[in-house]
């Protein structure tokens, strides 16, 4: 029955225990809605036919809804609404409070990727490995803007807020790969901020975990290799450096902060620049791309519009590589003093 309804309503398969509960209330609401819709539609249709206009300026009797009918109009829908509200809230509380002994996973959203890490230090980018039939608590945070961790097949969604952890838990019912989407708009590549939950049999999961642990141990203070992998200049950034060299970008731009004919690339990404027109602009991907394609459009104050136009001289891949290279040239971020780091509080169950 519920499989049929799921097909009718285009709901994806139910991958987690939460999904069954959410779908249950979903079906309840939809069925009642359609029953009432049919009643209203039929009543309206009967009235339309039965009381259609016979003559102009017809006089009609003064009909006033009796009190009991008004009471019914209020009482019946309200009791349904409140029933749904209470049922939903019960499930909501259930979904928000993980059972003891749940496996903790830290989820970090970042424009535009998901990173996962386990308390014992292992981690991964873009793929979250979890054991099936075991509660998993996700502790979600963001490193920049608000994201939302969304797994449609689990019916699970929780916003990732910068500076705070939010939590949610799930228990996967069967092994497989489940798509993770970002559901809170987070900028240019919002729609490509995807990842996967890989649910493994408990045995397979332990094997995976052991394999990860056997990877070279990171030194003290270093982040685990797998985790920081996304931050280090990737192959694309390396390609960008090569392209920039080949196209002669370094004749005018430096990468170490020294002033030259053009603005330095060090720390350029996301820097706020004053333009000659007096406006200010943030050097985001769009601006960097535009500056290659149409350099004269927005010239940074204090520089001459001498840069040649690279429209047609750079392939999209090369542009992306150069942008990625510029992105990688971020100055060391000042680390907040130790006193300002959040203090460790044992996580409340």
């Amino acid at each position: 029955m519920s499989e049929l309804l799921r097909h009718l309503l285009f709901l994806p398969r139910a991958g987690s225990t939460l999904a069954d509960r959410v779908d249950g209330i979903h079906f309840f609401i939809i069925i009642i809605t359609f029953i009432v819709a049919v009643c209203i539609g039929l009543t309206g249709f009967v009235f339309l036919v039965r009381f259609r206009r016979q003559q102009a300026f017809a006089m009609t009797p003064h009909v006033q809804a009796p009190m009991w009918l008004e009471g019914l109009f209020i009482g019946v829908p309200l009791s349904f609404f409140l029933l749904w509200g209470v049922m939903g809230f019960r499930d909501f509380v259930w979904a928000k409070n993980p059972p003891a002994g749940a496996l903790d996973v830290y989820v970090t959203g970042k424009q535009w990727m998901w990173k996962f890490a386990y308390p014992d230090g292992i981690g991964s980018v873009g793929e979250l490995y979890v054991p099936m039939n075991k509660p998993v608590r996700v502790l979600i945070t963001s490193r920049d803007v608000v994201h939302s961790f969304y797994v449609p097949e689990f019916r699970l969604k929780q916003d990732a807020l910068p500076g705070r952890y939010t939590e949610m838990w799930f228990q996967v019912k069967r092994p497989g790969r489940y798509q993770v989407l970002c559901a809170e708009y987070c900028g240019l590549d919002h729609s490509h901020m995807r990842a996967e939950v890989v649910a493994l049999e408990p045995g397979d999961f332990e094997a995976w975990r052991a394999r990860q642990k056997s990877l070279p141990e990171p030194g003290p203070g270093e982040e685990p290799l797998v985790v920081s992998g996304a931050d280090a200049p990737g192959p694309l950034a390396e390609l960008g450096r090569a392209v920039a060299t080949r196209k002669g970008c370094f004749q005018c731009h430096t990468v170490d902060g020294t002033p030259h004919i053009g603005p330095t690339w060090l720390g350029l990404y996301q820097r706020e620049e004053s333009l000659q027109s007096g406006e200010r602009i943030r050097a985001d991907v769009a601006y960097l791309t535009e500056s290659m394609m149409d350099p004269a459009a927005k010239v940074v104050a204090g520089f001459n519009p001498v840069m040649p136009n690279f429209q047609g001289r750079l392939s999209p891949q090369e542009v992306a590589a150069i942008v990625e290279f510029i992105k990688s040239l971020r100055p060391e971020r000042p680390v907040p003093p130790a006193a300002q780091e959040p203090t460790y509080v044992p996580v409340r169950r």
């Binding site: 309206g44 017809a58 006089m59 009609t60 009909v63 559901a183 943030r282």
Partner: protein
């Protein structure tokens, strides 16, 4: 349809030709002319927002980047939202029809503060101009919700858009102040609180929301602007700020703003149901109480936008229950409209087709609203196309249907002419079906898990997107037909006469189009506005007898 022998004639002098020349329009204090100018501007904004909507639908026809880049897509959906919400829907019925009709419906010569009314128009123009200027600067890419910290970090032209919305907000405040005062102090003899027409009640409720909620939006927009300009860090976690605070303040305005959009529509429907079924409202009391109730309880529900945002569980529960209360008022209205049809004399006209469409679509929009206000169900639906479909059912399916219904119902009042009725009915049916074809698939897309604001999407979502785009083109075609026949009717439509709908609403006792002073004699109304049980000839004298 006309039963009378003689063809009606246009009144010699009316508000449209009382004074001539552009200058007389630009400096007018006449609420009717201000309402008309609002109507024209709003329709322009609707056109702009609609063009964005069609562009978005075409882009979404296929996955991947086709007609626009991701950045362009992000900017387009933001501007579609900003233009439609702030420049069209929020001022739509109150500023255009409210301005035109409210004094007529309570028998006043004008609104309480005519100069303020004109100032409101110019503030709107200014705000819209600033927003459009922002669009020319490239436009924002934050979504119409301007969520921090993204809106304070992105490099697009957010500032002018924020500023434009801020200024438009003040325009709606002035309108609200004006309307509340007018209703309180300027009712003609006989128009007691229990005999105020239902549309006026709706505008009154709307004005309460505008006055109380808009300043909060104004302040929060100022804070975001300051944060962008001066690194204030008010909502920035790096400085100890709380991004959720922004969402609280924003939705304190923007949830009631949904009722700013729908309440006037409900008022239009209440009027039109009575007029075209020739029946007294099934329960005047229920319609009034639910209007004011929605205006007030609507302020208590904003937290249901934040169930999965990291806000507290208790808060979610409280806001969920409060949201159910506001849904009850809507349910009550639907039942009452249905009850009004009972033993009436139902006349199927273009406005009435929109009424039927409104009731039907509002029912589904409202029920899907209840569904997403259920905390656990919202976990899945939040920020998916289900929500997109839900609020489009309310804002387009209901508000816009009401706007079109109002346009057709009061078109003879405004211009003294009629539009081709059969064409009107046909187009109305086309628009309702186009609408359903556009947004029903979006409910299903939401169920599948398609998040909103996606420039690109996994392939499995495509068939439903194609259906939605097909519906949207039908919808656009429908609007085109309406535009053509209404513009044609302005000059060539049949002369309507005073009261072509045989309505007993107060506004129809004056001539159509009304004289500059609204009524030739200071009116008094000894009978209720929706009274069709009384063999009185007074309302019908308008027919050229």
């Amino acid at each position: 349809m006309s039963q009378s022998g003689a063809e009606p004639v246009m009144p010699e002098r009316h508000y449209l030709n009382a004074e001539r020349g552009l200058w007389s329009w630009l400096t007018t204090h006449d609420h009717k002319r201000i309402g008309l100018m609002f109507l024209g501007l709003l329709l322009l904004m609707f056109l702009l927002g609609g063009v964005y909507a069609l562009a978005l639908r075409i882009e979404l026809l296929t996955p991947g980047e086709t007609i626009m880049s991701r950045l362009a897509y992000n900017r387009s959906f933001t501007l579609h939202g900003v233009v439609m919400v702030w420049l069209f829907l929020i001022p739509s019925i109150p500023s255009a029809f409210g301005n035109f009709l409210l004094p007529l419906m309570i028998g006043a010569k004008d609104v309480a503060f005519p100069r303020l009314n004109l100032a409101s128009l110019y503030l709107y123009v200014l705000g819209a101009a600033i927003t459009l200027w922002g669009i020319l600067q490239g436009g924002a890419d934050t979504g119409w919700t301007f969520y921090t910290p993204y809106s304070t970090a992105t490099g697009t032209a957010v500032l002018p858009v924020l500023l434009g919305v801020f200024v438009v907000g003040f325009s709606t405040i002035l309108t609200g102040v004006n309307f509340i005062t007018t209703v309180h102090t300027m009712r003609a003899p006989g128009v007691t609180w229990t005999k105020i027409p239902l549309f006026v009640w709706a505008i009154y409720g709307t004005s309460i929301i505008q006055v109380l909620a808009t300043p909060v939006l104004g302040m929060v927009l100022v804070l975001v602007m300051l944060e962008r300009l001066g690194g204030l860090g008010f909502f920035d976690p790096a400085r100890g700020g709380d991004p959720l605070l922004y969402q609280h303040l924003f939705w304190f305005y923007s949830h009631p703003a949904v009722y700013i959009m729908i309440l006037p529509g409900m008022g239009v429907i209440s009027e039109a149901v009575c007029a075209f079924t020739r029946k007294n409202p099934f329960s005047y009391r229920v319609l009034v109480v639910s209007t004011v109730g929605i205006a007030f309880v609507g302020f208590l529900t904003w937290g249901h936008h934040m169930f999965v945002s990291g806000a507290s569980t208790l808060g979610a529960g409280a806001f969920s229950v409060l949201s159910m209360l506001v849904a009850i008022f809507t349910a009550l209205k639907i039942f009452t409209w249905l009850g009004t049809m009972y033993r009436g004399s139902i006349w199927i006209t273009t406005p009435f087709v929109y009424v039927l469409g409104f009731i039907f679509l509002l029912f589904f929009g409202g029920m899907s609203g209840v569904a997403v206000a259920v905390t656990s169900a919202d976990i899945h639906w939040h920020d998916t196309y289900f929500v997109v479909a839900h609020f489009h059912f309310i804002m387009v399916g209901a508000s816009l249907m009401a706007f079109l219904g109002a346009l057709h119902y009061w078109f003879p009042k405004m211009f003294g002419r009629r539009y081709p009725e059969a064409l009107g009915i046909g187009t109305a049916v086309l628009i309702i079906f186009g609408f359903i074809a556009t947004f029903l698939p979006q409910f299903l897309l939401g169920n599948m898990g398609m998040p909103r604001r996606y420039a690109d999407y996994p392939e499995r979502f495509q068939p439903l997107h194609v259906a939605s785009t097909a519906g949207a083109s039908l919808l656009g075609f429908g609007f085109l037909i309406i535009a053509i026949y209404l513009i044609w009717s302005l000059r060539h439509g049949r002369v309507a006469g005073r009261n072509p709908w045989e309505s007993r609403g107060y506004e129809w006792t004056s001539e159509s189009p009304p004289p500059k002073s609204n009524f030739h004699e200071p009116p008094s109304f000894p009978y209720p506005p929706h009274d069709y049980a009384r063999p009185d000839v007074a309302p019908e004298v308008g027919r050229a007898a």
